[in-house]
């Protein structure tokens, strides 16, 4: 039982410090590595509460270790200990001290809750509509006329007003580095205001159990400096969606036959704009396929042949009836979408 002293005291703090280092080099997914005001304010509260709680645990552990050490039964001890009824003073003490600690914790909690819930000014913020579907994310910039999926681009230094809802079951939107999460409820609009203060790629995850591939319902928030973001918007408004090679033309034809019932590709001249699958405009620029796999040709091929292997239970049918050549035509076309 002596082990606990070490574990509770030093361990708590040490481990925290050590593993903050870990996970570097990858897009950030850690609460401990905030990249925006919301995340920072939440981390501040986490540190404050951890501090108070560590104190509590240390006090309890200290008394505990002393008691266990000091009052263990010695061999041959026969005497019956004094039967103490209680002590009003002590009991008041350990009622009042926790209350004080809790008040110290409650005040910043309340103020941060209200601050983080504040509506942003429409002029100074950018609105993005988020819709969650079983295992993928649809993003729409209503003021910019741009749609995308699974990867959302934002400018740094701007409050982004995510308005979210769900197309089927409940999902939750969580980009740990930027800030806490918010549920996407069908039939209800929710809001989450996030801001990135440095460019970078921030991992996001769905955190509400939503079915077989809940574990794989990932997205990325990609923060650009404002100028770069403008460029991105421009390229999205004017995507290069026409095939460049004969193989790709073949692919485009196949897409029009097989895919556009579910997927939309802006600027390619398709009449139909499917909405039951992710918008594939500029798909070639995505870093990942379906949020989980690195975006390269082999992976894309495998995905088209059998999406279920990658994401069990997802809503895209397998296209294994297409020939090898047809698949590579599709892949060619899709990877060229920029």
């Amino acid at each position: 039982m002596m082990k606990q002293k070490w574990r509770i005291g030093a361990g708590w703090v040490l481990l925290l410090a050590v593993i903050i280092q870990a996970g570097c080099g990858h897009p950030s997914q850690s609460v401990l590595d905030p990249a925006g005001p919301a995340g920072r304010s939440q981390l501040g509260l986490i540190y404050l509460s951890t501090g108070i709680m560590t104190l509590v645990v240390i006090v309890v552990a200290a008394i505990y270790i002393y008691v266990v050490y000091r009052f263990r039964e010695r061999p041959g001890e026969e005497e019956i200990p004094e039967q103490v009824e209680g002590s009003r003073k002590l009991e008041v003490l350990w009622t009042v001290i926790p209350i004080i600690l809790l008040v110290i914790l409650a005040v910043p909690t309340i103020s941060a809750t209200f601050t983080l819930n504040k509506k942003p000014e429409p002029e100074q913020s950018m609105r993005v509509n988020v819709v969650g579907f079983q295992y993928w994310w649809g993003f729409e910039y209503p003021d910019l006329g741009v749609q995308t999926a699974n990867e959302v681009h934002i400018p740094t230094g701007t409050q982004v007003d995510f308005q979210m809802t769900s197309g089927d079951v409940i999902h939750a939107f969580w980009a740990p580095s930027l800030g806490g999460k918010q549920d996407l409820n069908p039939g209800i609009q929710n809001r989450l205001v996030l801001e990135a203060d440095r460019p970078g790629v921030y991992e996001g995850r769905c955190t509400e159990l939503c079915g077989a591939s809940h574990a794989l319902m990932n997205f990325r928030v990609i923060a650009h400096p404002p100028e770069e973001f403008e460029e991105w918007v421009a390229s999205m408004r004017n995507p290069s969606s026409q095939p460049q090679t004969p193989l790709a033309s073949e692919g485009k034809k196949l897409v029009s036959q097989n895919c556009i019932g579910c997927h939309a590709i802006d600027g390619a001249g398709f009449e139909i704009k499917g909405r039951t699958g992710p918008n594939l405009t500029a798909f070639g620029k995505r870093t990942r396929i379906a949020g989980v796999w690195e975006n390269n040709k082999e992976n894309l091929e495998a995905w088209l042949k059998d999406p279920q292997v990658v994401k069990p239970g997802n809503r895209m049918p397998a296209f294994d009836h297409l020939s090898k050549k047809e698949i590579s035509a599709l892949v060619e076309y899709l990877s060229d979408l920029k």
């Binding site: 870990a22 996970g23 997914q29 850690s30 609460v31 401990l32 995340g39 509260l45 986490i46 509460s49 951890t50 709680m53 509590v56 645990v57 309890v60 505990y64 266990v68 009052f71 039964e73 001890e77 005497e79 200990p81 103490v84 009824e85 209680g86 002590s87 009991e91 350990w94 009622t95 926790p98 809790l102 914790l105 409650a106 309340i110 941060a112 809750t113 983080l116 079983q134 409940i170 939750a172 969580w174 800030g179 806490g180 999460k181 918010q182 549920d183 409820n185 069908p186 039939g187 209800i188 995850r205 955190t207 159990l209 079915g211 077989a212 574990a215 794989l216 989980v292 069990p312 239970g313």
Partner: protein, 633 residues
């Protein structure tokens, strides 16, 4: 329907053949069979043992599910159990542990001990007691049958609406969840009422409320919580059932329903439920710590009051599970403050336990080891709970492994350690044999570090961005080491529990006989033989103080003073009706699971018919004459 009847007949037939052919003696023989005795018993001690056994069985099941979960999560990008399969395991693990393991094991202890502690001959409603058990058992069985027929529920133990509706969970899985829990839930409610009436009406002369041992007090408050927490669950399950069977529109948005209603209902039940789980454990620890410190419980009155207050506040905090739903800052903060407030009465309890140990002479038996281990572990889990109550921080923590760490720390650190401590403490009383202290130590020293190793790293997993209920996680985000440690810890826990299993079997077969008072106990149950006679007390004892048995011993008395003259004791006769009724519910459950309203109604008819039979039955009971036996002593 025909199939079921055929199956039943066939089963009886088989039983008849296996036991020596059907003839006139068959029924007689059945009635002398040990199984029959257990099926029809209304003795609270036997029902307690039934609860412990069934709970232990489901614990093994739930634990194996946990093992598989940890096996899958041991390494990143593992493909051992994926997708729906994983979700089934995870949902069944949670559901099993909460509904079929934790509470029933506690019920087992309560059933055996509470009547003894208050000096009663039995619980108030022996019939309902048996019914409660059989309903729980058939509900649990129904739930677990899902593994064999049609797939287990896979929408989490919370079974949030829309995911759990037909459209997104088309198989029978969630039907099993709804009906299994409905049946088990009715059983729980019945038991809750039974304990309340027992404690209010059946206390021995002189056993005033403020002389009741803490375990009885916590049972009392827990039962009151059950009384108000389970009906909302029942209502919610009804809605879910209609939604799935008859396409109603409580939760579907296109029918005008609202998805958050289920969440409110579930957590109005769910939060009190976690205190239902932990309060009895608090009771166990209060008894164990006081006994093995050889001191009276420090601050008895505030301990009692803290329990009441926790129960009271427990109903006011459910929204802390819904901070991310979007209910607005005002609602969130009020529930945050209420949540934090619960730390105060809980803290009072923790410090009072420490103060009880202070100045005592601590004897570290296995039960006491568990109690001592509990204090630190529960405080860690409790304070992370308070951290979860900090709304903005919870937006980060919610639905991550941080929460998983929190609740395993409190549930295992509180409830499970409480059950283990209670089992070690009362085992001699229940079974009349001693457990081995040596194997007990092995058990503890594997299990306890194992728990910390399993769940402590999970706090960090949450902070590094690992959501819960995921079947896999990518490498490269700092999640590997902690997951590996966590899985390794599980192995330690399992080994520890195997030692317990060995210990139990050893004790039941070879263990030394227990004396009536092996621990120098303080409360009434230690004043009678181990195991107690069927009627518990030949003469109802007269309670003359708090910790009555301790007080009498200090006075030099060798037994409690009787409050009545020796005389024949009236006992209720055993009955098979509860079992039949449970079968009725079970059949009805199966019917509804497979959308067969006819079978469903048939099952309910069986229930109603048995109810009426019961109503017309004149149960005379029988009398025991302990005079002859007792005179000698």
């Amino acid at each position: 329907m025909a199939t079921i009847i055929i199956l039943i007949v066939f089963g009886l037939f088989l039983a008849a053949i296996l036991t020596g052919g059907y003839n006139k003696k068959y029924l007689e023989r059945v009635q002398q069979n040990w199984l029959w005795e257990w099926i029809t018993t209304v003795d609270h001690k036997k029902i307690g043992v039934l609860y412990l056994t069934a709970g232990g069985f489901f614990f093994t099941v739930g634990g194996l599910e946990a093992l598989l979960i940890r096996l899958q999560l041991m390494f990143p990008d593992n493909r051992f159990i994926v997708g729906d399969q994983y979700n089934q395991l995870m949902s069944m693990h949670g559901t099993t542990m909460i509904f079929l393991v934790a509470l029933p094991l506690l019920f087992g202890l309560m059933n055996v001990i509470v009547p003894l502690q208050i000096g009663a001959r039995d619980v108030a409603f022996p019939f309902l007691n048996s019914l409660g058990f059989w309903l729980y058992f058939s509900g649990g069985l129904l739930l677990n049958l899902s593994w064999l027929f049609g797939g287990a529920p896979d929408a989490g133990w919370t079974s949030y609406a829309t995911l759990a509706l037909n459209e997104f969970s088309p198989g029978p899985g969630v039907n099993y969840y709804v009906l299994g829990l409905q049946i088990a839930g009715i059983g729980t409610l019945i038991s809750g009422i039974n304990f309340l009436v027992t404690i209010i009406n059946m206390r021995a002369p002189g056993m005033s409320y403020l002389r009741m041992p803490l375990f009885t007090w916590t049972t009392f408050v827990t039962s009151a919580l059950i009384l108000f927490a389970f009906p909302p669950l029942t209502a919610g399950l009804f809605m879910m059932m209609f939604e799935r069977l008859f396409d109603t529109n409580f939760f579907t948005t296109h029918g005008g329903g609202n998805v958050t209603i289920w969440q409110h209902i579930f957590w109005i039940f769910g939060h009190p439920e976690v205190y239902i789980l932990v309060l009895p454990a608090f009771g166990v620890f209060s008894e164990v710590i006081s006994t093995f410190s050889r001191k009276r419980l420090f601050g008895y009155n505030s301990m009692v009051f803290a329990v009441v207050l926790i129960g009271f506040l427990g109903f006011m905090v459910w929204v802390h599970h819904m901070f991310t739903v979007g209910l607005g800052p005002v609602a969130n903060t009020i529930f945050a403050v209420a949540t934090m407030a619960i730390a105060v009465p809980t803290g009072i309890k923790v410090f009072n336990w420490l103060a009880t140990m202070w100045g005592g002479s601590l004897r570290f038996t296995t039960a006491m080891l568990y109690a001592a281990g509990f204090i630190v572990m529960f405080v860690i889990g409790g304070v992370t709970g308070v951290m979860l109550g900090v709304v903005p921080a919870d937006w980060q923590f919610h639905d991550t492994y941080f929460v998983v760490a929190h609740f395993h720390y409190v549930i295992i650190g509180g409830t499970l350690l409480g059950i283990l401590a209670g089992v070690y403490y009362w085992w001699p009383k229940i079974f009349g044999r001693m457990l081995s202290e040596k194997w007990g130590r092995w058990n503890f020293w594997f299990f306890y570090p194992g728990v910390h190793l399993t769940f402590f790293p999970q706090h960090f997993l949450g902070l590094y961005g690992m959501p819960r209920r995921v079947f896999t996680y990518p490498s490269g985000y700092g999640l590997e080491l902690n997951n590996l440690l966590s899985s390794l810890g599980t192995i330690l826990m399992t080994i520890g529990l195997l030692f317990f299993l060995y210990n139990a079997v050893w004790s039941l077969t070879k263990g030394p006989r227990a004396e009536s008072d092996p621990w120098d106990g303080r409360t009434l149950e230690w004043a009678i033989s181990s195991p107690p006679p069927e009627y518990n007390f030949a003469q109802l004892p007269k309670i003359r103080s708090l910790d009555p048995w301790w007080a009498e011993k200090r006075e030099g008395n060798r037994g409690m003073q009787p409050a009545e003259p020796l005389g024949p004791i009236h006992m209720p006769s055993s009955t098979y009706l509860p079992f039949v009724m449970a079968i009725g519910f079970f059949i009805s459950g199966i019917g509804f699971v497979f959308h067969s309203v006819r079978v469903g109604v048939l099952g309910l008819l069986i229930v109603i018919v048995t109810l009426f039979i019961r109503s017309f039955q004149e149960d005379e009971g029988f009398h025991i004459h302990p005079e002859e036996e007792v005179k000698g002593t």
